[in-house]
Assembly symmetry: C2
Homo-oligomer: 558 residues x 2
């Protein structure tokens, strides 16, 4: 880097830092913008009624003609789930490996966008020219096949994005992480590394996926009746190991749950699953076979109320019942926030009389993480030897821990950037600095509405959820302001009306008295009338119940 660059490279996240989910990273050099991933996030508990959350892409829309493409690291929802929304407004070339592209196309088909989009199949050997930036790739291990890391060669230097990764020395599909290419990239010099921080708080090394296969096979051998395995649909390696266990123990397999059926079909078609002929059977067929010849692969590892496993546990599934003596394996980690739902499902399975194998941590061996632990994160840092380090893909505390790991392998503290979404890092002539902020944030999707639910709507939903609502309607005469009809009080979510007649009658009297008094004082602006009614009623109800329902006064005039 002897000659001076006039331009600079700018790096920022539109999603994925300070949170788990909606990953979207941007690298810009002069007039060339490259986007890495385009994910969604599931709503926080306080985002009432929201279906999903996607990144705010205002910056990309304002610089539409500079965006050279979107590169996808792997096929998980938090990396591809935002694409239907993003591509609708930003129809730029999309690059992804085979399985990832298969999953994306399924998604775009459902959104009626398949025809219009510009999709490009890549593999780990592809080299893509994106204006002044050249992208190449390296294979990684993760809980979904066909995951890649990305090296972006810019005039300022190479920026590496790891994607989600672990180092699995005994991977299920024999697709080893490409240590040699990583070493090669590292030895040529990496300007900046963006690396997965999910397990930065976890010491040691994440277990190999193959270790789970051994445990599952053992469970299949010992089970005297049917075995039901619940896992994430996208965990194709895990699915393969269930198929393998079926083969070894002579069981037929039925697949239930919409996303599981979908993914198994896509992955089989594309050659990522090896399913012996005649192994898969329809759910309707299982009762014709002896129980020790049957296994069931199912969604619902998070105890989701509408999932196949939950419905089976509650005996409300249309096709499959779980019977006493069946073995249920929950082969997944419980995502924080889902503990109660998973616990409830386990309880219900026990009540049926099933044997349940569910993993609090590593005890049972039926699950390993897809993300590298501290030793693997350090290995990646040591392979890449970056000058600058930006931990990504994690809550703030995880980014912070990852930063400490980077310091521990010798990266200068001042060269480590912990970012919020929208914070930019500019690198020019080998010097990096935190620069300004681009617009970034959560776009909430509720039904068909994209971004039409804001803080006011959420605040109202929160209020309504706590103490309900009281609607007070009164009709006034246009001539003399006298009450012509009402006040009528209707409540929802406040008190059970039949048992609270006295309270509501008294509330009615208070509204009538308040209005009559105001009228005799010649107060007749509606806003003022409403405020007085709301205050008087709110005070009374709080005294009587210590609750604060939303009060909605409505005045009609005839």
């Amino acid at each position: 880097m002897s000659k001076k660059n006039i331009d600079k490279v700018t790096i920022f996240a539109l999603g994925g830092v300070g949170e788990i989910g909606k990953n979207m990273y941007v690298v810009q050099y002069a007039n060339d913008i490259v986007v890495v991933d385009s994910g969604l996030k599931f709503p926080d508990v306080d985002m009432l009624g929201i279906d999903v959350v996607i990144p705010d892409i205002t910056y990309l829309l304002e610089n539409k003609d500079k965006v050279r493409g979107i590169l996808i690291t792997h096929g998980h929802e938090d990396h591809i789930g935002g694409l239907p929304y993003v591509l609708k407004h930003l129809n730029v070339p999309l690059y992804a490996t085979k399985l990832t592209l298969g999953l994306i196309e399924n998604k775009l088909r459902e959104a009626n966008l398949l025809g219009e989009t510009k999709r490009h199949l890549i593999n780990a050997d592809s080299v893509i020219k994106l204006g002044s930036i050249t992208a190449s790739f390296f294979k990684t291990n993760h809980s979904i096949p066909d995951s890649v890391g990305i090296a972006l060669d810019t005039p300022e230097g190479v920026i590496v994005h790891t994607g989600d990764f672990k180092f699995d020395q005994t991977p299920v599909n024999d697709e080893y992480a490409d240590l040699h290419r990583m070493a090669e990239i590292g030895s040529k010099g990496v300007l900046a590394l963006l690396s997965d921080s999910t397990n930065a708080e976890r010491p040691g090394q994440t277990g190999s996926e193959k270790s789970v296969g051994v445990v599952i096979e053992d469970i299949f051998r010992k089970a005297k009746q049917r075995v039901i395995v619940a896992t994430f649909a996208s965990n194709i390696h895990r699915v393969q190991q269930v198929i393998d266990a079926c083969e070894v123990t002579g069981r037929k397999l039925t697949v239930i749950g919409r996303s599981m059926v979908n993914v198994v079909s896509i992955a089989s078609e594309l050659g990522y699953l090896n399913v012996p002929d005649g192994m898969l059977i329809e759910p309707e067929e299982i009762n014709r076979l002896s129980a020790d010849r049957v296994a069931i692969l199912s969604t619902g590892s998070q105890g989701e109320p509408m999932s196949a496993l939950t419905r089976m546990a509650r005996s409300t599934h249309r096709k499959v019942d779980i019977l006493p003596g069946d073995t249920v394996v929950i082969s997944a980690t419980t995502i924080p926030g889902n503990e109660r739902d998973v616990g409830r499902t386990v309880d219900e399975l026990y009540r049926i009389g099933a044997n349940v194998i569910y993993g609090s941590g590593s005890q049972t061996g039926v699950h390993v993480s897809g993300h590298g632990s501290q030793e693997e994160l350090k290995l990646m840092l040591n392979l890449m030897k970056p000058k600058f380090f930006i931990p990504v893909h994690g809550e703030y505390r995880m980014l912070r821990q990852h930063g400490l790991l980077a310091e521990s392998v010798g990266i200068d503290k001042s060269n480590i950037f912990i970012l919020d979404n929208g914070d930019t890092v500019e690198i020019q002539n080998g010097a990096a600095r935190k620069a300004g902020k681009v617009q970034a944030g959560n776009i909430l999707i509720d039904g068909l509405g994209v971004g039409d639910v804001g803080n006011i709507v959420l605040r109202d939903r929160k209020l309504l959820s706590q103490d309900g609502i009281l609607v007070v309607v009164v009709t006034l005469s246009k001539q003399d302001g006298k009450i012509m009809s009402g006040p009528d009080i209707i409540s929802r979510g406040f008190v059970y009306v039949r048992e609270s007649e006295g309270l509501l009658d008294e509330a009615n009297r208070i509204v009538t008295n308040t209005l009559t008094k105001l009228m005799s004082d010649n107060v007749n602006e509606w806003a003022s009338l409403k405020t007085h009614v709301r205050d008087a009623l709110g005070r009374f109800l709080y005294e009587q119940t210590k609750r604060r329902p939303m009060i909605l006064p409505i005045i009609m005039e005839v």
Copy 2:
């Protein structure tokens, strides 16, 4: 038991089995009822707006004159929190050890019930005659001092209730669990054992409280600035160890958070905390001291939004700020469901620049559980050698695991009873059987309302929280049914009104058209009008938005 008993002993839970919380157990022999504990539970996520949950005590109220007393095992909320509600309607004698009684009296004082109640101080050597049942006690280790187990000697045999317990071989207060008395009770013969199942899923042995003290002292020694420790207020042993660490390292201590201030004051008064003179200072004084001479003891270990730690982390606490370089220790386990709140607090503390030590499990050593793990549960079973076993205090899966542990130490499977709240076990002449059910359930408390929020109100709150509400008001003429005013549509929590004028205008037209059409068809019963409006509007809004707000049509007549 050579002579035949005409009467039987009946055992059941009114709360505490199939759940964590609202513990209340009942032992009845003939006309004598003894109650063990009277706790509350914090609401599940789907109990929107509910403050706390207590057991349904209908059975006790219907048998008021038979209830000989309530025995309390220890002073945690899930064992004493229901007392203000229960004693109000069932003013029977109450028996508790010194610290437990101190905490109860504080609670009753706040509820203005102190004067009326019949409170009796007991210690581990007390023997209480309760009709035909005689209660004696034995010391246990738990995360609050003065915890006891209870042996109820009935004409049918001895029923033992362990309370919450662990076996701590190096307890902080030198109050050892009374192994000898337990052994004595066991060797005399135990008819039935009810034992704490909280950690039945956890292998091995729970760590000693003293091990935490070592870690905390080490943190205090190394910290260059202030140390802030957040823990449960009731964990007096932990508080003592923080005080000890202050003494050894020459720090002054300030206590913040209402419940922490309360408990520290009660425990000091009663002699359960040993605080060196001059160690405690007011929050206002800390800034006068050098940072390495100060420690802060705080509530907020669960990331509760209004707690002291959370407010300090957000820099909204009135008196205390956390400064860059301060060390914050979260010395508590995260209760399932609170992971996000705790994570958010940790993130905020890191953003301030604090060092945060928080325990994912045993990694950091800053917390141990107060409940025994599998080896301790087996030790209790082996000490007591009960004929019948009823695992209590836990979710169904924990009770189930505890049952398996009992089997593993030789208890006959048919002598193990896993109960739901209200299920009774009857024992007569040495034979036990599951008998009928007494009324049991959740009584929801919302503000001043006890039990007035039922399923309909909760369902409405749920609906309101998801998609909000639309109120449609119209005034019709009494004479000819013509629309005199409206329809007016007001929405809350549905869409942001300013950006949805078109939608609401169209909704308005649909209501007008629907009503006009019905009127011309001479449909004029209100119920029918309302149903048609609700259906037409609901259909339209779902088509347009894929949301289903609650629709509340209101018809006024003048």
